[in-house]
């Protein structure tokens, strides 16, 4: 027996070795996953500082001519399902820490100043599409609601229970819209009709579709966004 276990190539030792290596691979996988979130947590504050520094809150990003629109490049991504929304009863709510909470129907929203832009929509997955969007600037809606002085963030709640939170500066950017038009036609349901976020300064997962509620707050809640709560970066600025 002792003779056998001293032999480095004995069956027992080989079995033990293979056990170690399977354990090793599993351990490496687990620890790399742990380190992955640590690597993210370690540098995300630094990266966010950089992103806030780079963001020029009042400077529009250069736009494209209409001839540059790529009608087939915009891929439809949802986390779950396409919600059924009754347009006659649809209301957009703007609430939270505001002096003048709003409940707006679509006709009222379309009477507000319409803004059109041709911008690049960039997805976290790496693809991008040049799209024309038209809608109402989120800045105008926030101003109508008269936010209280301490407001620093906005939550966007969607009909499919998708949720997102943004820094106020990015919400007030002149090209952050609640869009109801895409590439010259009314916004298709798959792209987020009746109202979706559109902006050249945030990654696609920040640009919620089917938005029904904007809530202005002074502090972020523990839930910061559908993908962010699973580990994606919160600021996601471009």
């Amino acid at each position: 027996m002792s003779q056998n276990s001293n032999n480095p190539l004995s069956r027992r030792n080989l079995l033990r070795l293979s056990g170690y290596s399977v354990g090793g691979i599993l351990l490496t996988g687990v620890s790399l996953t742990l380190v992955e979130s640590l690597a993210g947590k370690a540098t995300e504050p630094l990266n966010q500082k950089l992103e806030e520094l780079l963001l020029k809150p009042q400077t529009p990003v250069p736009e494209f001519p209409e001839s540059a629109i790529e009608p087939d490049a915009l891929i439809i991504n949802t986390y779950g399902f396409t919600p059924d929304i009754d347009l006659t009863t649809f209301r957009l709510i703007v609430d939270g820490e505001v002096d003048n909470p709003l409940t707006l129907d679509l006709a009222t929203i379309q009477q507000l100043l319409r803004q059109s832009m041709v911008i690049r929509h960039v997805c976290v997955e790496g693809w991008a599409a040049i799209v024309q969007w038209a809608g109402v600037p989120v800045r105008d809606l926030i101003q109508l609601a008269k936010p209280k002085p301490g407001v620093r963030y906005a939550y966007f709640i969607s009909a499919d229970r998708y949720y997102e939170s943004w820094d106020l500066a990015s919400c007030l950017h002149p090209q952050t819209l609640l869009a109801y038009e895409k590439n010259g036609v009314p916004l298709p349901v798959d792209n987020g009709a009746p109202l979706r976020l559109a902006s050249p300064i945030k990654l696609g997962y920040k640009l919620s579709k089917w938005v029904t509620q904007i809530t202005l707050v002074s502090e972020l809640r523990s839930r910061r966004g559908f993908w962010e709560d699973q580990g994606y970066e919160w600021f996601a600025g471009l």
Partner: protein
């Protein structure tokens, strides 16, 4: 024989690489590997060639486990990778190493008119390792364009469009791999094990 022994000792104990060069080399090798593997993880979310139906990079070469993890690694290691290149750039400017430690007219001359085979290999070695500097700078430049395309829209415009920018950023992966092979072989041929050891292990502390 008597005269050979002391000179051999002096050659052996002579430091071939300055400590800053070794530190740069080590940090660059490690951080660039993390950048490559996490970059390929991000690539797999939507392959540059063919989109979702395109060919995906095998799991073995990836780092991060999923898209968000790949991005965490990529945007954490980018600081180490780019700041390492920055201090090294300042270092070679201040010490004037860029004048005599990188490819120069004398290497071109050696290749064109020289008769010394060893000198020619050394010239190729210098050409190849100098070439990694613009490759790394290109990776950072295109990377900034993809990371912040709204704030650095002129970088995207410089390459034409988004797809061209992605292709060039991705092209730095095969360029770095080709470089690594050529650089290793030429280093071995130009200076043998002694040169390799001088860059990696000798007098590390």
């Amino acid at each position: 024989m008597d005269s050979a022994a002391p000179s051999q000792i002096s050659v052996k104990s002579r430091r071939l690489q300055a400590p800053p060069a070794k530190i740069f080399h080590w940090v660059n090798v490690v951080s660039l590997t993390i950048m490559l593997m996490s970059g390929l993880q991000i690539y797999n979310a939507n392959p540059v060639f063919g989109g979702r139906e395109g060919w995906h990079i095998p799991q073995f070469f990836l780092l991060g486990g999923w898209l968000a993890g790949g991005r965490h690694w990529h945007f954490a290691a980018m600081w180490i990778f780019s700041l390492n290149l920055l201090w090294y750039g300042i270092y070679i400017l201040i010490t004037k190493r860029w004048q005599h430690r990188f490819v120069g007219g004398n290497d071109v001359k050696a290749l064109q008119t020289g008769k010394n085979y060893k000198r020619k290999i050394y010239a190729w070695h210098r050409i190849v390792y100098t070439s990694i500097i613009p490759i790394l700078l290109l990776a950072i430049f295109t990377g900034i364009g993809m990371y912040k395309p709204a704030q650095f829209h002129w970088i995207v415009d410089f390459f034409g469009d988004w797809f061209a920018l992605r292709v060039v950023h991705f092209a730095t992966v095969p360029l770095v791999l080709l470089f690594a092979i050529a650089h290793s072989l030429l280093a071995l041929k130009a200076g043998g094990e002694r040169l390799i050891n001088s860059m990696f292990w000798n007098n590390m502390l």
